[in-house]
Amino acid sequence: MLETGVRQFRMAMGMVWGRRLSTRNLGRLVDDAIATLEEFGEPGADAGNVIDGPFSDPAVRKDFATRGVRRTAKRLASQSPFYARRFAAAGVRPDKLDLEGMRAIPVTLKRDLVERPDDFQCADVARYLATRTTGTTGRPAEIWLSRYEMELWPALGAISGLIRGELMPDDMLQVNVSSRATGSVHLNTAGCRLVGAACRVLGIVPPDEALDSLAERGATQLATVPSYLAELEVAARRRGMSPKDFRLRRIDVGGEILSTSLARGARETFGAEVRDLFAMTEVIPVIGRPCGDGHLHFDLNTGLVEYLDLDTGEPAEPGALATVVVTPYFPYRDCMPVFRYDTRDVVRCLPAEPLTCEVAGVPGTGLIEGKADQLLRLGPTEVVTPRQLVEAIEALPTRPWPARFRATVHNGRVRLTMAVSAIADLDEAEVARHFADRGLDLDLALVGDEEAIALRPLRSDLHETTFAARPALIGSLT
């Protein structure tokens, strides 16, 4: 207990002074967290402050953010060629920067990262591991990570996971994300190693293989993407599987839109809590978590999150759609940090009313509505978001999961192209009523199932072949 206090003090001082944290110290704090749970069954009363921070006071929040932004900007100005130029061009002094003043710095776009990746590399850090975005929303960006980051993030995640009861030593985590997502895979495996949990990395294998693994080998946690979860749910339903076939207690998904219908279906089939997390390679370790009231709350300990109006680039008004702009703080981001990175992920700002959810002390927004570039503008104020379409399609009685569609605007109306099988057994009026009930007045174009697959690339399309799934080419069939 006394030495844990010393370790926490060291960690806190590292944060206050803006120095790189000792990953060995953090690893020992993970051990302390495990010992605490073994002895007491739960963390102490002020655990919330340790992981969520004292952010209920706006003044504290602002002061913390200002110090984080200055610390990060000072380092970038001296170590990152891209930001040295950008800050100079904007005429800002990193050591005097504040939250209002940083708006003079243009947001960073994915295009910048793709076109000039070397300019983002900090001069004082050696590269260790490259990870790529999946490229489902455009040309992939390659992000280099340092050894420090690869040790820091799993440790922070492990402490948070243990305190929240999300990842425990007796858990087994099955990872069904693209094996090329090296950052994500590494974080999961390293986090499990620190906690003492088991980890099985399968990748995007044929759903039946993943289901067999879930059912027969007792995974308690599943990390995947919504589209692959949809494939798993459909396969499990086809096989007549139910919660009694699984030991799962939690399913974490991210990277795509998770509809409420799919979340409900997965809960019913797998008997596990389903969480729609926000995580993005470019801005790790800043992540967003959903609360019980359906808000998205970002971790403010590790970065600043701005919500900017899609048209003006100014802070969005309550109730408006906004793009999420993230600045991960130093020392949480080390090798290729970004500053004011525009994720182009759109959220709806909440009304200006006090929150009442379990994390009301941390500001929240609505869930991710989709990419800004995929919004359908029907008029000056009327916008249809990808989430609206996914929610509507995946709520169809046929459960056409994952939703395959293409939406375009013609003459001020949405034209939705989707698979004919998605509306099987429904007549035209029923289909129109289904979408109208969800606020969508649209024209429908139907295509065959094979053609529908090409309408919208999904992460589950990054299938990885296995020998087990291939038909035998040689040998007897008897």
């Binding site: 926490q8 302390d32 605490t36 002895e39 007491f40 963390p43 002020d46």
Partner: protein
């Protein structure tokens, strides 16, 4: 040779006096701490469980404590002690009292100790009041700190190891380098002297705060780890090896100082006994219970749920309609 026989009682009286004071102190500390453990839950930090390295940290602190006594100026020493006891009392009794009651109570206790230690030690008679007040502060502090450690995850093995370490330490600083005697003579009349004690005439018997912490900690850890079945054994051990043997050892082997201020390395007796008892308990009953298992057991007293308050009876209207007959 005793040059002032009128100032000193016989060794038998001193030993018996020491025995009575030690038994009273040890039992008040052990049973008081146990009463607290079964009823009161202390706040604990988000992360952290008492472990072996914490024992080493505590031991190191204990090792340098005499140096602080000798090196620090008087005002600094008293300030440090006052701060220590204020923190201990505030942590320990915060769950039981309102903030006003807590801070007024602490202020009175510590303030009285400081005042009495400065103004009531010129005559022999008021020393009993000084000791009584100081003993009360120490007792409350021991109850709080022992619970802080045990409720923080300290186990019987930690207490036993700590006691064994103290056994060697006590023996060295009492028998080899008489540091304890020196400190006792120098500081026994200081405010917030870390011991419980009493005085009869010129005879004084005291039991140190560290010893009391070990006795209370041992009792709590045994109770927490193995339940009420081992409580008689733990208390017997405290009485025999913590009180009787150290107090009467002067009669058996001549290592009691002939001065009025008696210094006995109590842990030299208690430490080995505590370790052997722990090893025996582990062999007989297996591993110790965790705090989680202890809290789930019947050894914890939980407040009896109060029956719901009946709705208040409202005055009936003067004219009440006759009830409808029940139709079945």
């Amino acid at each position: 040779m005793n040059l002032h026989p009128e100032l000193h009682s016989s060794q038998l009286f001193l030993s018996l006096f020491q025995l009575v004071v030690t038994i009273i102190g040890a039992m008040l500390a052990s049973l008081g701490a146990l009463y607290y453990l079964r009823r009161v839950r202390l706040d604990r930090p988000a992360l952290g469980r008492f472990n072996g390295r914490d024992v080493i940290i505590l031991f190191t602190f204990l090792g340098i404590l005499p140096g602080l006594y000798l090196l620090l100026p008087h005002w600094a020493l008293i300030s440090l002690l006052a701060l220590t006891f204020i923190v201990a009392l505030s942590i320990g009794y915060r769950p039981l009292l309102t903030p006003t009651q807590l801070w007024v109570g602490i202020g009175l206790l510590i303030g009285a100790d400081l005042w009495m230690g400065q103004h009531m030690i010129n005559d022999v008679f008021p020393w009993q009041f000084v000791w009584a007040e100081n003993s009360l502060v120490m007792l409350l502090a021991v109850i709080a700190v022992a619970n802080l450690y045990i409720q923080g995850g300290m186990q019987l093995k930690h207490v036993a190891m700590f006691a064994l370490g103290l056994a060697f330490y006590d023996a060295v600083v009492t028998l080899v380098f008489p540091l304890s005697s020196l400190l006792l003579r120098e500081f026994v009349n200081y405010p917030l002297f870390p011991a419980m004690g009493m005085r009869i005439g010129f005879d004084e018997a005291i039991v140190g705060l560290g010893d009391l912490l070990v006795y209370a900690g041992f009792t709590l850890a045994a109770f927490k780890g193995y339940g009420r079945r081992v409580l008689p054994l733990a208390l017997t051990l405290v009485i025999v090896f913590g009180a009787i043997l150290p107090s009467t050892s002067g009669l058996l082997i001549n290592y009691i100082d002939s001065r009025a201020d008696v210094v006995i390395p109590a842990q030299t007796w208690f430490g080995p006994a505590a370790l052997i008892t722990y090893l025996w308990l582990r062999r007989r009953y297996g591993r110790e219970r965790t705090m989680k298992e202890f809290l789930a057991s019947n050894d914890v007293l939980r407040p009896t749920p109060q029956p719901p308050t009946p709705p208040s009876v409202t005055a009936e209207p003067e004219l009440q309609p006759a009830p409808e007959p029940v139709r079945t």
